[in-house]
Amino acid sequence: MEEKVFEIRWHGRGGQGAKTAALLFGDAALSTGKYIQAFPEYGPERMGAPVQSFNRISSQPIRNHSNIENPDVVVVLDVTLVGQVDVTKGLAPEKGVLIVNTPLEVEEIKEKLGYTGKVCTVDASRISMETIGKDIPNTPMIGALARVIGILGIEELLEDTKKKLEKKFRNRPEIVEGNIKAIKRAYDEVKGV
């Protein structure tokens, strides 16, 4: 994993924070000493429409500026996309990982998709309802992703994300606290790792 560029694709719906998740994750990876890229797919953007965003993470400077077609990991923020959007496109069953925000079990998702590769699930929406008070699955999914790919330390990730959120939500410490808890819980609760 050290030598190569690690590629991630995020699936969400407009407004769910797929872009923010990629940016936050990239920024957090940078704080652990990695080189990073984070970029959204820009098209017609509407609330609720399927959207994608991407990360590249590497221990070497990243030079590739083409699209990501064969990701190592795919993160699905909204389980209703499963079956609507080809979320496993380009994912190699023998080495790729699919992480889905869902209360369903790993086997149920596999069956639904007819996908033979590794699948992880985490109920990020419930976690975010319980910690942040709203269904904002993108931050908990960062925790699940960190656990699955294992190239970033959770402590560094939490510390960096906390710093960033504190800047953004200066007068609302409960939001910062909730998000940090959400990331930590998803890190612990993700199934199928």
Partner: protein, 395 residues
């Protein structure tokens, strides 16, 4: 310090450190964020800049011209149709020898309407008298904009400079940026050299006319002087690039050679695609293929002699154009390269042209590998079967 910034954020940070006296701008995708972020810096009092929110890009450049003519630093940022709308003012900025610096995000021109990357917008400005610097990544975009101020204001140059990024590919891509401290950046940029004629004339009670009618008697002399500024820029740009390298460890010239010295075939490209091409060069090198890359950073002034010297003895060159010249011949970069290499007596490479990536069409490693394989074939026979191929288009 290593931070994560998008191309637009990096341009905005560079502008904050440059701290220009005037920024006049009008929003356009995908460049909007540059001046949007910068306007926040103005509102937060982080810069001393007078921010002029104008009603069009034509007015943005006009306001920059007015400000720069008063002897102060003026900057703006734009893209695509915005740059096209500035077109007549671009020539006026250069003709008046005003060192305006502009951040440009490369985006396709309409029609059909498209917000994604190609180089057709800046190609339309290539003969305007503006210096053009292209960037491979967010780091280079930032470094180029910092250096642009020094290049533009150099007393031997006094020409406007545009530094560019590839729309969305760089403008909206978060990358690792090694940002200079404000002190280092500002120390490198320095104080604007005095431009005595302008400052005295506009501000000290003896007004003069700028841009007056200039017919058969002097127009030619003035254009010749502007052209001399461009010739001088060829000396100044590498000097400043070297100084930047000495201070901050990243040296810049007219172009970067990658796996070049023993390369038999070479791809020549500008912008973000150069990074992707480096990856494929490494892959093909491992397969024992003598492939190399020449990434052109400075398109205007055009480093013809330097390119001829570098490319002499190569067997084949594939010139990648992210714009169509609409000439029934080639893209805009190709004829320039051919002209630069024409005078090579012995060892002139065979040159072919590949138009790619219009309107943001993805350029993949496989596409670049295909081009290498094509020019390897050409190198074997020493003759080309064709001049131009379109890469990645359905037809």
């Amino acid at each position: 310090m290593k931070v994560a910034r998008t191309g637009n954020e990096a341009f905005a940070e560079a502008m904050r450190q440059i701290n220009p006296d005037v920024v006049a701008a009008y929003p356009i995708t995908p460049a909007t964020e540059i001046v949007q972020i910068f306007s926040q810096f103005v509102a937060d009092g982080l810069v001393k800049t007078e921010f002029v929110a104008v009603e069009s890009e034509h007015s943005a450049m006009s306001a920059c011209i007015g400000a720069s003519a008063a002897g102060i630093r003026a900057m703006t940022g734009t893209s695509s149709q915005g740059l096209a709308l500035m077109w007549e003012m671009l020539y006026i900025a250069a003709g008046l020898r005003l060192p305006i610096v502009m951040a440009v995000v490369n985006r396709a021109l309409s029609s059909p309407i498209n917000i994604h990357c190609d180089h057709s917008d800046t190609m339309g400005a290539r003969d305007s008298g503006w210096i053009q610097l292209f960037s491979e990544n967010v780091q280079e975009a930032y470094d180029n904009l910092i250096q642009a101020v020094r290049i533009a204001e150099h007393p031997d140059v006094k020409l406007p400079v545009m530094a560019t990024t590839d729309g969305f590919i760089l403008s909206h891509c978060l990358e690792t940026l090694d940002i200079l401290s404000d002190e280092d950046a500002q120390d490198f940029i320095g104080i604007s050299p005095e431009r005595p004629n302008l400052i005295k004339s506009l501000n000290e009670g003896s007004p003069i006319t700028l841009g007056a009618l200039d017919l058969q008697d002097y127009y030619f002399e003035h254009k010749r002087q502007a052209a001399e500024g461009m010739f001088n820029a060829k000396k100044v740009i590498p000097e400043i690039g070297k100084e930047f390298g000495k201070r901050f460890g990243r040296e810049y010239g007219f172009f970067e050679e990658y796996q070049f010295v023993d390369a038999e075939v070479v791809i020549l490209v500008m912008g973000s695609t150069a990074g992707t091409a480096k990856d494929i060069v490494d892959e093909m090198r491992k397969e024992g293929k003598k492939v190399g890359l020449l990434k052109l950073r400075v398109y205007r002034p055009f480093p013809a002699e330097e390119l001829a010297k570098a490319l002499k003895g190569k067997k084949a060159v594939g010139v990648m154009d992210r714009a169509d010249g609409m000439s029934a011949f080639s893209g805009p970069l190709y004829p320039d390269i051919c002209a630069a290499l024409y005078d090579i007596d012995q060892g002139r490479p065979v040159i072919q042209n590949y138009i790619y990536g219009l309107g943001g069409r993805d350029i993949r490693k496989e596409d670049i590998r295909y081009i290498f394989e094509e020019i390897i074939k050409t190198a074997k026979t020493g003759k080309k079967d064709y001049t131009l191929k379109y890469i990645g288009v359905r037809e």
